[in-house]
Each structure stands twice: as structure tokens, then as C-alpha cells.
Subunit: 372 residues, 4 copies
């Protein structure tokens, strides 16, 4: 039956601008019978002038979430829940359970002596430790111990399991995965380890001790995977690197002193789908606004400050998490004139780059600052 | 307010299986206030055991669509419509106007003397000629003439425009683009050429004459783009290549004699997001079933036969188009014992490979053939 | 005992300029005892201002050599000689038996029904057919048939053997190898095939039929070697490619219409140590002079003309061979106003590029032409 | 005139074995007139069964050379000598002034306040500090300060100059360059800086502070050179890396705990022509023998021990230098049961790998140890 349509008309040369007529409406109905449609009825919708992110800028405050995370321990057992995780549910992305864009993230808690069952999946994960002692992760038989602000990779297809040592303390960490992307690309597989747990087959922390040395790789060390063999990236050397780099760079006008975590075997991103960076806003630093393609999820690692995202100010402090959707204007400011502030960022930059669609723009007006 | 939830429970070790309780329902409501949720309520949904494509296997018969395509000439002007295109609207992907997965496709018609306005966008396009004389495409100032079963690339970011020569005949072609993917990745930009048309700045067909020679490249020929400089791939040498290759290969059990179109500068795919292949089913050939990640859109270039996709038989002949969704079982058969049949295929294999998520499986039972 | 020395003195700031004294001469003798020396006595010698090739420009005329090559058949048996080859012995490189730089070349003859014993070595070879019918080469079990102006690769480490079919005619070809380079780099291994001959394990000419198609590669065709899988490059498609390219290019001022033979799997050179190109001098074409690092050995494939190399004119015609040493000025001219002339070139450009030492300079004076 | 020849005859199937006859001798003379020869007279010479290095295994003891190096200060001025360097002159390579293979090396001394004139050349250099305070090197405007056992790169084509700070002490270092290779490849250019000295245009040590951080690179840090941007590699983090790696590896049976210095931007070698490694022989460690292509020059960085090279024992201690020619058997032993010993190694492995000619063999007999 014929009905009025939303044809997304625009009165611009080179754009579709067709008015409904009875004849056309009948034609559209006819096309539907053959699983087809007239492009000009949707052309302007599917070819927007610039990206329209469905994600909203959101801040998740650790002060809000921490108690709820801890409470999950009382509410569900690991056996029933699989993992006790509170996930970040962007109001614009609830259909795919994403924190921003195609990135999933959640806060997980585990008590001393607990260990999750081992599994593997097409999704790639990063686990960033927030608090607690004794956390560890086993990746394909390699056990990595984890302290606050360390993170570990569990890439696409690797068997992995998380635990906390018997003599540790309750641990909370942030998980970041590309689960929504894997689902969107219809390439997500999931498998539970046949033994539910893996044997540790190598010396503890061997991958980072082997591959995590500046300007040095193991001689004859073959590595044929596309992800980094340096499974764990620790906070102390990261912060040290930022200090060293800060001493010799002017920094970026948009990001302060920023470094990307890389695969030491290739110099490329840590995984094929998710990248990570750490940036330092120096005392008193306030950056200029820019925007770029790609979805960004920030974790405040140190200090306090605020970010302005598409004209809205978000104040943050340690362990708060906030997101910047694709093509959203953003700028950052350190609240302190004495202390630096550090932001960890998980993003899909490797996807943008591999597919040739990274794009960046500086905010040109108002001295580079958004009106708030 | 509390309500019952679909928690996607599974009674399998390592999977979430939590029953709603009043306490939990209150907890879920509380989490929503902070843009958060409990992972165990969605875990099994977002971590499926294997990919669940939302696309349906569909065949679009040229006999059905051709008249409708031609009729569009009478119904809309190029000025109003932008382009006169009937797009393939997969019943499972109408929200994103995709033919399959994240691939858009449509049939476009143009009359002699017509020329579309030039534009560029983040989406990459392939234009495969079905019928007519005199079609041409201009890509960044390079004019490529096009005959039946030739195809031309208009990659991400290139200015391009299509036309038909004054002394040509009405032309119909199939467009294939990654528009849905670019939108999903929130990286789609669109721009109309300031002059609405480009000047032709190089000898006609120069890119294919320069780069389209087996085992030979122009000396000192620099090329710093990630897509192929051989903008046009012609049918005659393609069919000749299939014949030559067929003479020395057993072929693939799943695909017969299959070749991939490549970027001669790198040996890689023609673009970063879309790949293309041509395969020949030899007289009487019937392949075995397999499945793999990635979305495939086939165009019957020559001959007739059928494909079985997830247990349903689709009979096809010249210029029919059909799709195979990600992880769908599929096998092909040539209907003729005397003539070969050829299938052009547009796919997102470069995305699967760049992101490390290509996966393939042979159908193990029943001699490799699906029960229909 | 002290003696006068050649200290290569130069009176230029930053260069060594030390006069012998009795004290210094005694010091030098003392250093010799410890296998040491004073750098300033050799510094200017080992750090020249620019490359000083020891190779001489030479032309080898086919009219001179052909009879001698044929005569070898009467003088030695294949069993005793291994292969009946007259090699090109550059007057400046007789110590390493090179035609130019580190490239060896020779003319080989073989009679119908003859076949050389199979062997392999670290040296990479190219075999360019000059005359005769029925020549073939077997490379790692792949038999390639060869006609005039075709060439075949027998890369580093591949088992290979040459033969002429029973129903062929006496064949003469040019061999080009990097034997001198492999010896200089002290990496040359040689092995005779345990059976003296290999079995042909694949359809004849399969590698070229599989890999030698413009813009198309076999689907799923893995190739993990660093050399080209397209073992044979034929003359007819090469000449056709030159014609096509010539129609759309201005050509190089130094080389006319020039194409490089490439590995279709990577777009890179045919082997890691030797490259090959074919260039066409159009009717009446006279190029300008330039020079570059790398050693070049030309084989006149078609036509007649002359080249001026470091100020000396060398007239050439079909099947003559001439060399251009590293950093020698050179320019070419076609003798005909009606016919094109073609030059095949074997070179060590891949070495220059892999090691980052390729360098090029145009001749700036006299309209780009050397005074003769 | 005819004369007897050395034809390198071998009585092995597939090898040349032709006896001189008057007729052949006349033929050879005739060929010489055309700058040609008969391959079978040299075939076995130029195609050896395995590499025959002309380099001799040599040890240069620091105790022997140090006084001579220091004495050069009294004997020549920097202005006259260019640089005061005692070079290592392998008895088998005196024609090319090489320490081993195509590698040059020398010991250079400089007094506080001295600075060499800036120059650049096609040769790539490594400067390894032996003793003294205040050494520095400027590379393309980047000043790097250097302590004992640090080394700095001055790659192909970079402007560079060495100096010692006014408040430093006399410094001695080892230079390692590929000068002989650049000359052999006829690609060596040399240029004196127009101002004789460069301006320091960046913060001191910026390249190492920017690029020398484990698993982290500067965000947006573009680097388009083929050599490492981490110009300086320091001893302290190197030794620390060896300790960390030693804790989790069994090590190599041939080399103990060995790491390669890499370009952090690519994971590849520090330069395109020379590689470097540091290896640790653990207390009491004695390795097994192997051989490989490539020329190796060792500098004892720490401890004492011995190496057996082609059956000859060489005892070494701190700052001794010794060489292992291509394809020479070698094994190492630490003399101490309490202290580790460390060997820095400069080699041409990147050349071997880029050209596809690296090859390795374990010594199979006698438990892996050479008879001495």
C-alpha cells in the first residue's frame, strides 16, 4: 500500500531531491517486491556530508560505579555470572552494548583466590587494572602479573583467563573489547576452554621481559602474529617514558605529551583492531580542540581536569572514564598547576588506519577552543 | 521501574545463567541511572558461539529488475535524483540499505550524452558494466572507457563521475560500495566537486595501459596510495587469464577456477575495504560447500547454474546477482556440460584480512554437499 | 723496515693530509705488527668523493661472439665442461670474472636433445633466449618452455636445469648471474642434484599461466618466497605492454619508454639481488644523459642504435650486449626514424634499493648530452 | 701467446674438468681478444661448494692497541689527520682496509674540547664508546651524549660530527663502518659539511628520549627513514634488558642470552647494512659451535673468556675485539663461574637477510664442540 515517505531531500546540486508522486509511490512499492528500492529515496541519508556518530559523550565516574561493582560480588556468583562485570552502556549504543562506537567496556571485580574460566573469542581485549593486589592474566599459557595502571592484552583467538592470587586483595579493573565490532562484522566466535583452565607453560611475565626492552629484541625471536608479543604494558616504565619524552618535545597542541603503545616487533599498534595510548597533560596545560574519525575511550590514570566534548564540559578525576565519539570536537585541560594529569585511551585507530579512513581536523575559530 | 528481562541465559559452564530476583532487578535499574548495565544480562547475546548474520540469502534476477531500472529514466531526472539507481535492499539489512553485510549495491542506468556530477566520498566504489556502449568513468582526472563486464574502481577519496558517450547506447551497470560500512564506522564524508565536473587531464585509459601489464610495471612508477592504480579491469583479459590458469590448476574444491583482482603495485586487494574476484565453473562442475567470514555479492558474468546457500537452492543466469552472508554455507554448480559459467564477486575480504578475522570451514558431511 | 708510503693525501679541509716522517713510518711499522694501521694513510682512498667503478664500458658484439659460442660445441663435451659457455670478461673485473660490477654473464649453446645436469646455488640466474627453438628450463619441478627474447628466472636456492627439446634447433642464450656478488659476500653455496636431473612435477609453463596475468592472482595463492613465482617472462606480452604504455606516457628523458619486470605477488623486483627491465626507444628517439649507482648490462632485443657511456660512443644492433658501470654517464639513441629499438637490461638495482644506496644524477650541461 | 692455465678442474659429475689442448689454448687466446673467456676454465673457481672467506680470524687486544691509539695524539693533529684513528687491518683484507669481510673498524681518540669536522657519506657508522667522559655525537642536528659502552648510529647520508666536551676526559671509542662494502658496491659518496660544523637544532639526547621507550612510540611520530630514529643505545638499559630476558629464557645453545638492537619504528635492524647485538654468557657458560654467513666483529663489553674460531682458541677480556669471518665455526666460553661476560657484536646480517642469503649450520660432531 502506498504511503508517504521520508526521502531525505536536499536542495543542493548533486544531491537527491525528488518529490513523491502517486506514480513514484507505486513504483517504490513495486521495487519492494523484488527486495529493491530507489536510491534517491535514501541517498542523502546514507551519504551524509560528514560522520554522524550515534554515540553520546558520556562520563562514568568511578565514585558512582565502584560501590555497584563491589556489590555484584554479593549479588551473583562467578559460576552463574561468568564474570562479575558492570558494563558501560552508552545511551546511543544500547542496541550493541557499546561504551562508544563499536567498543565495549566494563568494570570487573574479582576476589583473592578466584579465577575465571578460560575461553577465547574473536574479540580482542585489553584489561586495565584500577585497584587491588595480586591480579594476573594467563594468555596462551603465559602468566602475566598485574599492578595498578598496568594493562594486559588478550588478543583475538588467544586462550585467556583472569585471576587474583590467594594472598592478594580484591581487584577491580576495566575491560575493553571490540565485541560490538566483531558482532557487526559478523565474525565473532566464542569457545570455552575444554579444561576450563590452562596450564602455565612459561616463566611468569616472560613475554614482557622478553619483548619489553627499548631498542632490543630477542635475537632470532620469531613472531608471526599480528598482535604484540609484549602482552603486558606496565605503568612505571610508561610514566617514565612520558617524562623522558616530555623533556624533549613541545607536545601536541591537541593532546599534550602523548605516546602510543606499540607492538615492539613491528612498531605498529598493539592489536589489529584496538589501539592504546597514554598522554600527559603537563601542569596547567590546556589543549586546543580537534576532531577525528575513530572512537575513543579515556581512563583517567592520574590527576584531575576536564574535557570539553562537542561543547559540553566533563570534569574528571582519577579512574573516571569518558568517551569521545567519532568526529566529535574535544579538548582537554589539567586542573592542576603543579601536578601532571595522565589519560589512558583505548581506541579503534588501527581500524581507521588499516581501512584508510582516518581523518583529522583542527578547530579553527576562537583560538582553537570550543565555546561552552 | 522493575520489569522482567531477557537475560539470554545458557546452562553451560563458562556462560552466564543468572535468574532475575527482585534484588537484581532493582540493581539493574540502579545501574541504568549511571549509563551502565550488568554484563551477565547481555553476555551470551553479545558473545555468540559463532557469527549470526542478519543478512538473508537473496537473488536479484536481472529479468525482474531490468525493466524497472530502465523505467527510472522516465520517472526521475538526473538533476533531481542525483543518479538513477535501483538499489538492492536485503530484507535483513533495510536499516542500512545494504545488499549484504555492510555492502551497498545498485543498478544504475544512463543515457547517451548524460554525465553525472562529480563527487567524492569516503566510501569506495566498484562499477561493473552490464550492458550498453560508450560508458566511461573519470577518476581523479583519468578517463576510463568501459565495455560489458569491465569494472572500474573509484576508491575512497577520489573525485569521480560517470557518463555515457554521445554516440553510445543506454548503459546499465552495477554499483558496489562500502557505504554501509563507512557509515557504521562513522567515517563517511561526502563532497560535491566545486565545478560539478572534472577536466580529463591524462590520456584516455592511461592507468590501465600503464599498470595493467602482467609482470611489468612502469619504471620509476611511484604510487603511494593504498588502492590499485589500475583503475579499470577489463573482461577480455580476465577471461583469458581464467582459461590460462584453468589449463594448469586443479582449481578449488569450493570455487572452481578462481582468481582475485589485485593491485599490481603491491599484489594486494584492489582497495582497502572491498575485494573482487572472478571464478569459472568448468562445464559440469559442481563445487563442495564451505563457509567463511565476510559478505559476498555475486554477479553472474557468463552462463547459468545454481548455488545452494544455507540449504536453499538459487538458480541463476547471466547478470543475476545473489549474495552469500557471512558464515553461510554455500556451494555452486554450473548448469551446462558444455559451456563454462563465470561469477564476479564483490566482497569485504580485505576488511576480514586486515583485521585478522578471516575464518573458513569446509562442510564435512554428505560428501561436502548440503542437504537441500 | 720503513719505506715511503702512498698516503692518498689531499689538501682539503676535513680530508687527511699527513706527511711521512721517520717517526710516523716507525709508528706505521709498529701498528702492522698488531694487524692495524693509521687511518689517515688510507682515509682518502677508502672514502672517495664519489664512486670509482673498476668496470670498463664494453660492448660485446653478437657478430663477434656467435661463431665462437657455436665452436665450443666441437671443442668440449657437456660432460667435461659442465656447460658450454663463453663468459663476458670485463677488462676491469677479470679477477672476479664479471661482465660489469658484480654481475656475471655468458653466452651458452645447447643442441637439441641435450640437457644440463641439475644443480642449485646461492647465486640467482636469469636466462635470456637469443635464438633457437625448443629451449626449456626446469625450476624446482616446474618446466618452462622458452622462445626468443623470453627469459626465465632460476632464483637463489632453486634446483634448475636447462635443455633443448629433441625436435628443437641449436639454442643460444645469455645467462646473467650474481655469482661475483655471492662470492664477494662470502655466501655462495653450490650443490649438484643427487639424481643429476629433476622430475617435472607440474603442468608445463604453469607458473607463468598462474601468476602472469595482469591485475589477477590465483585466489588463495600463497607464495612465501622473496622471488617472483612468475618464472618465465615472455617477449610478446612484454612488447605489447611497451606499446600500450608508450601510447599514454611521455616516457623518461633518460630511458624512453621503460618498464621493470616485477614479482606479481609483491610488485617488487623479480629477485632480491637482480632486477630486469625492458625499454623502448621510439623511432628517432635520443635520450639525455644521467648516471646512477648500480651496474647495468644491456642486451639489444630489437633494432639498432648507439649509447654514449662516459663520453665514448658504442654502436649496437640486435643481440649485442653492452654494460654501463656504476655512476657512469650514459645516454641512448635509436638509429632508426621508423622502427623502435628495445633494450633488455639486467641490473643490481634491487641491491642498491634494499641497502638504501641508489642515487641518480642528470647531466646538467650541453642540453643534457655528453660531449663525445 | 698460448700458455698453461689453472682451470680449477674437479673430477665430479656436474663440475668442469677440461684438459688443456693446443686447440683449446688457441681458442682461449682468441676469446680474450673479445673480452671473453671459456666458463669451464673458471667455473669451479667462481662456483665454490661453500663460501671461502678471505678474512682471517683475528683478535685485537686492547692492551696492545691502547697505547698506540693514545700516541697518535702526539703524532698527528686532527687538522692534518682528519681523525686520529688506528684501524683494524685484517691480514686477508688489507686491499680493502677491512677488519672482517666488508666491515671497517678503528679505534679513535679525542681530547676534551676537540670536535671533528662534520661530514656525511654513503657509509653507515656505529661508534661504540670504550672509555672517557664527555663524548658526544651530532647527527643531523641532534646531539647525543655518550658514556662507556653506549653506541651511536650515524647512518648513510646523515651529517655527523664527533666531539668531547671541554670538561670531559680523553675519550677512546671504536668506530665500525661499512666503508669497504660501499666501495665494493661502487656507491660511496663523501661530502664535507659546508660550515665544517652543524648547529645543534634539538634538545640534547632527544632521539633516544623520544624513541627509546619499551613498547611506546611518540603519538603521530612519523619516521620515513630506513634506519633507526633511536640514534643512541645506552649500556645501562641494555644490560638491564639482558638480565630480564635471561630470567625467562633458556638462551641460545650457540650464543647464550642474545638480543639484537632494533629500530623501534619497525622492529628491524638499526640500519640497512649493519646490525648490532649484545649477548651475555652466563657464569660458567660455554656455548656450542655453529657457523653462518655474514661477517661478525665482537667487542668484549664485560668480563673475560675465550672463543674458538675454526679450531683456534682466542682468549679475550674487556675491550678486546675479535672477528668471526663468514661461514667460520665459532663457539664462546665465559672464563668466570661467578660473573657474566658480555659481547657486543657488529655485523652485516641486514645485508644477508635483505638479499636472502643468510644461512646457518650447527656443528654436529663432538657434542657440538670443535676439536682445538
Amino acid at each position: 500500500m502506498t504511503r508517504q515517505r521520508e526521502n531525505y531531500r536536499e536542495d543542493v546540486a548533486g544531491r537527491a531531491n525528488v518529490e513523491d508522486t502517486p506514480e513514484l509511490l507505486a513504483y517504490y512499492d513495486e521495487l519492494e517486491r523484488f527486495d529493491a528500492g530507489a536510491l534517491w529515496t535514501v541517498a542523502n541519508k546514507i551519504e551524509p556530508w560528514e560522520p554522524q556518530s550515534t554515540s553520546k559523550p558520556v562520563i562514568w565516574r568511578y565514585a558512582d560505579l565502584r560501590a555497584h561493582v563491589l556489590r555484584s560480588v554479593d549479588l551473583v556468583t562467578p559460576e552463574k555470572a561468568g564474570r562479575r562485570v558492570i558494563y558501560l552502556n552508552n545511551p546511543g549504543r544500547q542496541d550493541v552494548s557499546a561504551a562508544v562506537g563499536w567498543l565495549y567496556s566494563g568494570l570487573q571485580v574479582m576476589h583473592p583466590g578466584e579465577v575465571a574460566s578460560a575461553h577465547r573469542h574473536s574479540a580482542t581485549a585489553v584489561r586495565f587494572i584500577i585497584e587491588g593486589r595480586g591480579a594476573y592474566t594467563v594468555v596462551d599459557g603465559h602468566k602475566m602479573t598485574l599492578g595498578a595502571n598496568d594493562f594486559v592484552l588478550t588478543p583475538n583467538g588467544t586462550w585467556h583467563e583472569h585471576g587474583v592470587a590467594e594472598d592478594g586483595s580484591p581487584c577491580i579493573w576495566q575491560d575493553g573489547l571490540d565485541i560490538p565490532l566483531m558482532n557487526a562484522l559478523e565474525a565473532n566466535f566464542y569457545e570455552v576452554h575444554p579444561d576450563l583452565n590452562q596450564a602455565v607453560a612459561h616463566p611468569v611475565d616472560d613475554m614482557t621481559k622478553t619483548w619489553g626492552n627499548a631498542g632490543l629484541l630477542p635475537s632470532g625471536g620469531d613472531w608471526d602474529k599480528a598482535y604484540s608479543p609484549m602482552y603486558k604494558y606496565e605503568w612505571a616504565p610508561t610514566y617514565d617514558a612520558l617524562q623522558k619524552y616530555a623533556a624533549v618535545t613541545d607536545g601536541s597542541p591537541f593532546d599534550g605529551v602523548m605516546m602510543e603503545y606499540v607492538n615492539p616487533h613491528s612498531g605498529g599498534p598493539v592489536t589489529q583492531t584496538m589501539g592504546a595510548s597514554m598522554q600527559m597533560l603537563r601542569p596547567g596545560e590546556r589543549t586546543k580542540a580537534h576532531r577525528h574519525t575513530g572512537s575513543y575511550l579515556y581512563h583517567v590514570t592520574k590527576g584531575a581536569g576536564h574535557s570539553i566534548i562537542n561543547g559540553t564540559r566533563f570534569d574528571w578525576k582519577e579512574h573516571d572514564i569518558f568517551c569521545v565519539p567519532s568526529w566529535a570536537w574535544h579538548e582537554h585541560a589539567n586542573a592542576s598547576d603543579r601536578e601532571d594529569a595522565c589519560l589512558f585511551c583505548l581506541n579503534d585507530l588501527p581500524v581507521m588506519r588499516s581501512l584508510g579512513i582516518y581523518r583529522e581536523q583542527a578547530f579553527g575559530e576562537n583560538g582553537g577552543h570550543q565555546p561552552v
